[in-house]
Symmetry: D2
Subunit: 223 residues, 4 copies
Amino acid sequence: MSATKQATVLQPRVLLTGFAPFAGETLNPSWEAVRMLHGRRIGGHRIVARQLPVEFGTALKALRAAIRDTRPSLVLCVGQAGGRASMSLERVAINVDDARIPDNAGASPIDLEIVRGGPAAYFTGLPIKAMLAALRDAGIPVEVSQTAGTYVCNHVFYGLMHALRNRKVRGGFVHIPYSPEQAALHPGAPSLPVETVCQGLRIALQVALATGVDHKLGAGAEH
Amino acid sequence: MSATKQATVLQPRVLLTGFAPFAGETLNPSWEAVRMLHGRRIGGHRIVARQLPVEFGTALKALRAAIRDTRPSLVLCVGQAGGRASMSLERVAINVDDARIPDNAGASPIDLEIVRGGPAAYFTGLPIKAMLAALRDAGIPVEVSQTAGTYVCNHVFYGLMHALRNRKVRGGFVHIPYSPEQAALHPGAPSLPVETVCQGLRIALQVALATGVDHKLGAGAEH
Amino acid sequence: MSATKQATVLQPRVLLTGFAPFAGETLNPSWEAVRMLHGRRIGGHRIVARQLPVEFGTALKALRAAIRDTRPSLVLCVGQAGGRASMSLERVAINVDDARIPDNAGASPIDLEIVRGGPAAYFTGLPIKAMLAALRDAGIPVEVSQTAGTYVCNHVFYGLMHALRNRKVRGGFVHIPYSPEQAALHPGAPSLPVETVCQGLRIALQVALATGVDHKLGAGAEH
Amino acid sequence: MSATKQATVLQPRVLLTGFAPFAGETLNPSWEAVRMLHGRRIGGHRIVARQLPVEFGTALKALRAAIRDTRPSLVLCVGQAGGRASMSLERVAINVDDARIPDNAGASPIDLEIVRGGPAAYFTGLPIKAMLAALRDAGIPVEVSQTAGTYVCNHVFYGLMHALRNRKVRGGFVHIPYSPEQAALHPGAPSLPVETVCQGLRIALQVALATGVDHKLGAGAEH
């Protein structure tokens, strides 16, 4: 067994992605939070942080390349959800792009499949109810979300789950609010500091790595 | 050809369902709107209205029985979404029950599949973008929704699409706001009169019956 | 006693005002509702409807002229509050103009007194708690509002109460939601049909005319 | 001149108040933020922090006693506004108590004057537009609010301005969001960390102490 292979065995990895800024913002809190964890060890895993572009197609290529490079045992993608007040553990990704605003490359796909002929949706591979309970106990605003939208975040989430469909690697997606600095320019918008998000991601990853079967904990919505 | 069969051929049908009251309400505006259209003719089709119970499992049995009885060429299920301000054309149903509040039979399933081993989701079978455009043009508040929740409405929507999966019958789901009478008891909650909803459903059905390929019209969400 | 004077005595009047369209809208539901009541009799009073311009200063001149002309025993001014879901019975008008958007004449006053040296605020002269109870009982979405904003509506409300300060004429202000036709162009915005608002105004006026001492009914806000 | 009097002259003071927990909460972020500033020096002033009870009447007695004790040159009262997303600089206090929920002593006054025969309202004595600009520049979510409600916060704000009406001491009120720990138990509610609020209060006080004439900066509302 080569030294490299040994190292891989001894140091399992988590791939953690954030996005580039979009929609006129100068920063993206998902990347700010994620990069603070780069190189850290959580639950016996080394965190590898990567930034994805906010571009349909290109974002997924970058994600797949990062998966090939890092051979992670778990992948968590993080994206900005301006207007939401809590960390949102996404339950499901759907096979459609429908862009209300153009992506960073100017593309605005409408009602296109992400994977031609792919399943309508993939559920998250992460124990979101156990993560919900742990974050709430830690005093971090959190909720389970029933939709990741139809923009680049959902695109990446769906593409991630499709890429992992035949592997033992688990994956999932978390949306986060604006940072306070961003909210200062969006009057009335809720926010969560990058440090709080960073702490929340650390807890979320610890729980995800340690939990086999998810908890039975209600977190549904009537509509 | 028997007289009955002839009648069926000459009079294609639309099955339109609403729900019983739930969550302490004394009426359900979905049923109030739907029953006003019972027996009417829209786009050459006779409307058959049926009420479904707000009960996991039982609701789907009632829906499947109504489909058997009426042999519709199109099925539209309608449900109340207290707190929403517009008629919501649902894009996708997901294969999970997660009840925040008990149903009318006292059941609160958590993270159970609706159809064991069924696909994670079904997309609507209706041209929701064409319906969106027509309703907006008619001055009726309307939006495309990316989640029908995880309660009895999503349960019925998913079960409907599963029941229709190998047939030529099209189906879909529309959520509607409280009626003004209900909103009067929920301070600050938005509403839409049953008459407006009824008019909206009529337009939605006309468009659904007349439209083959849906319009390319953006109605997505960033998250 | 002259015939005219007799007529005045026999036919007491209510002055009911709505506003012209503003902020890019093609109609203002306050005027649409108000003009439907012009000439009607409510509680023994003849309704006189007048439209006010959405212009600081000019609106108040028009209001004072209408009061001189009609010699009403009660004045109710009605304005559009896009984004609110209920009829809002305004509790208080404050002595400040602070325009977030220009008025219809292009003026954007910032932190100017409406009446130089006038009191900081006037409370409504109408029994808003009795009106609240009656509207709720009639199934019309309604709330008491603790702020009428700092734009032309508050300007008119304050100017009205200042004009009536030494008279026996009572006055007040009601904000109303978008009409459904407007909300169709503001995705996600709540609405109330002009007919419902019209019916609500009729009830509100009946109660206002018939009620001396207001009800003791909580309708406060923590913040 | 006695040593004590000299000390007073040399060390002007700011009185900063927060509230006790209420409405079932175990802490009140207004007090948590305020007490972190106790004893600090800001703009040449010593900060004296005091906690007020969430009780109509008693809260005002405690405030007036604190003013007598500390002889401040500026008073800022801070209160929790669960559901708001930003620090809210209150523009105006109105002369009415209308409690939707009982205070901590069980009292629920409805439509009672705070000061019998007092003016309908007092405007803040602080330069809230200059404070708004400074907080926004510092990246702290902030807004001007046109209503402080009708509960104990408005009660204290009105009582404060009444107490200061004939003095050269300036005063005002700021509402703050839930802390993240509180929001974790109110799904979907926005929050701001106590540390961020604390930093915001420090900036707000610096600006308030240094600003004579307020900025001309629009921060109004249409309704």
